[in-house]
């Protein structure tokens, strides 16, 4: 049975992380150093060492999750611990800093720690929420199946348009060729549909429309088809246009689902593009921090 990583082993790691954070806070509150609280008191050094070890261990999760043959705990357990202890890291780092911040390498390391943890929390939220949205959107299809269905629909549309003749093949081809799926980070993450349409003029042989116009969700094409449908006086032709419209409508909803799927998948990945590079920046800042405090001891 599926168990959320947050609830792993009855939230064992939540309790551990809370206990560690609480202990750090209590010791910090009782600690009365001779100087203002900072990373150089005995508690400061202790918290600093604890935080460094914690960062090293949290980073090691990136290695452990790739070691499929490893028997060192389950990946699920590691992830649960990664999430909770990662959150506890913010408490430890804040207390280590003794609430002293400035424009320097030390606060850079702290800020990057917070950024990594915040992006991780965003990732947890996405992982808990998006897979369900994704499977609901896919309706038991894989992306490849959806793409194959798209090719099928394209062919059906073209054939139907060719059967109608006139400006229909051009319109359908333009709608197909100028359909946009993904393509840029913005289009993926915002789920933006950049599809366009270059429509033939209403009267065949007349000048063509000069510019391609936006065709989000194939609406412009469907509107155009609707207008042609209204104009049609021939029963057979009407039936054919009607058939074509339903094909284009099916294509539209498939495209929307594909786009939504790409959007969800992009978000599920996007946070990692912050989480991982920020972690590397954090490690660099951490190394600099540790070297520098002893360089100018």
């Amino acid at each position: 049975m599926h168990q959320s990583i947050l609830a792993y082993r009855r939230m064992r790691y939540l309790w551990i992380a809370s206990a560690v954070s609480l202990a750090a806070i209590i010791v910090y509150a009782l600690h009365r150093p001779a100087e203002p609280p900072n990373g150089g008191t005995w508690l400061g050094y202790t918290l600093g060492v604890a935080g460094t070890l914690l960062i090293a261990w949290l980073t090691a999760f990136g290695i452990r999750k790739r070691r499929y043959s490893s028997t060192l705990g389950s990946v699920q357990g590691w992830l649960s611990a990664h999430v909770y202890l990662g959150a506890a890291l913010v408490v430890i780092a804040t207390l280590h800093a003794g609430m002293q911040f400035g424009l320097n390498v030390h606060t850079l390391a702290y800020a990057l720690t917070c950024l990594v943890v915040a992006s991780g929390i965003a990732g947890v939220w996405l992982y808990l929420r998006y897979p369900e949205l994704m499977s609901r959107n896919r309706v038991a299809q894989t992306r490849e199946q959806m793409l194959a269905e798209l090719v099928d629909l394209d062919r059906l549309c073209s054939r139907q348009a060719a059967a109608i003749g006139g400006e229909f093949p051009d319109a359908i081809m333009s709608g197909r060729d100028r359909t946009k799926l993904g393509g840029s980070a913005w289009a993926l993450l915002a789920g933006r549909d950049g599809s366009q349409l270059l429509l033939p003029s209403p009267a065949a042989g007349g000048p063509q429309q000069e510019r391609a116009l936006p065709n989000p969700s194939q609406t412009r094409l469907l509107d155009w088809l609707g207008a042609r449908l209204a104009e049609s006086t021939d029963g057979e032709r009407t039936r054919q246009i009607h058939e074509l419209m339903s094909l284009v409508g099916a294509r539209r909803s498939l495209l929307d689902r594909l786009r939504r799927d790409a959007q969800i998948r992009a978000w599920l990945e996007a946070w990692l593009y912050l989480h991982i590079p920020a972690t590397f920046a954090l490690i660099a800042a951490l190394i600099a921090h540790i070297i520098v405090v002893f360089l100018y001891w």
Binding site: A34, E35, Q100, G102, H106, R178, G183, A212, A266, I287
Partner: protein, 570 residues
């Protein structure tokens, strides 16, 4: 510009399918982007690859894409077009033919099957972030490198030599200011904020030598002759004086450090008889001891005018200040006022007691500044403006004799004086004879002694001073020297200025309004301070009291103990 585009599709059996489109617009744009007039589904083609415009009547194709265009098998950027020309862009072939009337340009558009085969059909949709070129790994290493370079390597280059350091600091490059773990204490801005002033050697803690370079005259904590606390003598300055903290705290203020020794100091420093244990102001601190000036007792002291200092508990029974002055505070502080030459005058504490500019001790009280306004030293009601100076009794007596002698000799006798010779014949222009002068001087001297007796034994001097009889007929009086204690508690820092708050007035600590006698000791005991001051920082929970650590009143470096040279190498 009207353009006729003929789409050509060749079937497998050699059948050719045509479809025509008439375009009317300013330019025919060609490219991979979906907003182009001719949408070329070919990865080799740029998003906006080329455009055809009318220049005069001649259509011209131009391209700024890296791949360029091939016109009549020649790669070019721009070309004027004539019917018969063939343009190739990737697998797309445009062949120009003579335009029908009313059309500016006409061409067929088809896909070269051979060229298209290499392209493997349609461009795949880019449906995830990796497909659009996002790379976690390269971003990660890039950021790692940038951060290392900016915050570590570039500033560290300044450690190579001084020239590099100054170049980095004066330029826009990140310097070792980025390494600052907290602001420099304001007192240390004299270092021009140069790290190396104190951090002389990398990876080595700041040594005392760096501190002593400026703080040469630092004092000992106690005289080392006592042979105690040698670990103090060799301590690191920075163990008490920590830099780069917020809030700025250059001074270690924890009682625990002091209490380490002072909790049991009476045993540790038994050689210093006066030491008493103390570990917390509120709970473990001896009663205050005051440094009471006592009048000279021995012959030598009397001769040298030295007043021995008596260190004594402030609450000792029968303790009296022996300043040798008569001064009832109560009379002077009478709310109804005190008699003065200008009529009754209401005095306040600060009419006489003013803090020093540093806010700590009080300025000394002097006769001239504080008393003479009322206590005027006139001696003869007939001449209220004539006064004697506030000097030794023999000098005062001398002045009086001189004064009266001159008055008599100048024949300005006191009209009420009985000693004036009654039957003296005053002949204008007559010079008194020797006998007459001797008589007058004798009379003047008697007069002066009578007035002096009045001064020393009944009036002005006697009001404030103790006057002794010397037994010497020529110099019969001596004013007993008086001295006020200037510093009652030299071992403690106390700021009157800081205590001048709405919560405390003078009489909260000094009960002067009820004091009838100068001998009354008006110094507060520790109980008075503890009304507001609690224990050290650790005991700040003592309800409503000001947390008061050792260093609030006491200093570590005692100038009285002489200069200290801690081990510079540490």
């Amino acid at each position: 510009m009207r353009v006729l585009i003929r789409f050509v599709r060749r079937g497998q059996a050699g059948a050719v399918e045509h479809r025509e489109r008439l375009f009317d617009g300013e330019a025919v744009t060609l490219g991979r982007s979906t907003d182009q007039v001719l949408h070329l589904k070919d990865r080799r083609v740029a998003l906006k690859h080329a455009r055809i415009v009318l220049r005069g009547a001649v259509p011209v194709i131009s391209s700024r894409a890296p791949g360029g265009i091939v016109v009549n098998d020649a790669l070019c950027r721009e070309a004027a077009l004539r019917p018969g020309d063939v343009i190739r862009i990737g697998a797309n072939v445009l062949s120009l033919f003579a335009p029908p009337p009313g059309v500016d340009l006409a061409f067929t558009f088809e896909l070269d099957p051979e060229a298209a085969a290499g392209e493997a059909g349609l461009e795949p949709h880019r449906l995830d972030l990796a497909a659009i070129g996002w790379r976690r790994r390269s971003w990660s290493w890039l950021l790692f490198g940038v951060v290392t370079f900016v915050v570590l390597l570039v500033p560290a280059a300044g450690l190579l030599d001084e020239g590099t350091r100054e170049r980095i600091r004066s330029g826009p490059l990140p310097d070792d200011g980025l390494w600052l773990s907290g602001p420099l204490a304001s007192a240390h801005h004299t270092t021009s904020e140069r790290c190396e002033t104190c951090h002389r050697k990398p990876f080595e803690r700041v040594r005392n030598g760096a501190c002593l370079a400026c703080h040469a005259g630092v004092s000992r904590h106690f005289a080392s002759a006592a042979g105690i606390g040698t670990q103090l003598e060799s301590a690191r300055c920075a163990s008490c004086h920590a830099e780069h903290n917020e809030p700025e705290t250059l001074l270690r203020r924890d009682d625990a450090l002091c209490a380490q020794c002072h909790r049991d100091i009476a045993r540790i420093a038994a050689a210093i008889a006066t030491t008493q244990n103390a570990s917390d102001f509120h709970d473990d601190h001896p009663q205050f001891r005051i440094s009471l000036l006592t009048p000279p007792g021995t012959e030598a002291e009397r001769r040298d005018g030295t007043w021995p200092v008596l260190r004594v508990r402030v609450d000792r029974n029968g303790l009296a200040e022996r300043s040798r002055l008569k001064f009832p505070h109560r009379v002077h502080l009478d709310p109804a006022g005190i008699e003065s030459p200008e009529g009754p005058s209401v005095l306040d504490c600060d009419d006489c007691h003013r803090p020093q500019p540093d806010g700590r001790r009080m300025q000394p009280i002097t006769m001239e500044q504080h008393c003479a306004g009322c206590h005027r030293l006139d001696f003869d009601p007939a001449f209220p403006d004539a006064t004697v100076p506030h000097v030794a009794a023999s000098v005062v007596l001398q002045r009086l004799v001189e004064y009266y002698s001159r008055s008599y000799l100048e024949q300005y006798p006191d009209p009420r004086a009985t000693a004036v010779p009654a039957r003296r014949v005053e002949v204008p222009g007559l010079v008194p004879g020797a006998h007459e002068r001797a008589r007058m001087l004798q009379a003047a001297r008697s007069r002066a002694f009578a007035v002096a007796r009045d001064l020393f034994e009944r009036r002005s001097c006697h009001d404030c001073h103790e006057v002794e009889h010397t037994g010497d007929k020529e110099d019969p009086w001596r004013v007993v020297p008086a001295r006020l204690t200037a510093e009652w508690m030299p071992a403690a820092r106390f700021s009157h200025a800081q205590h001048a708050t709405a919560l405390s007035s003078c009489d909260r600590c000094h009960d002067a309004e009820r004091s009838k006698d100068a001998a009354d000791l008006l110094m507060p005991s520790i109980g008075t301070c503890r009304e507001c001051h609690g224990g050290g920082e650790r005991k700040r929970q003592t309800a409503g009291l000001v947390p008061s650590g050792c260093t609030m009143c006491h200093g570590f470096h005692d100038p009285a103990q002489g200069p200290w040279t801690p081990a510079a190498a540490r």
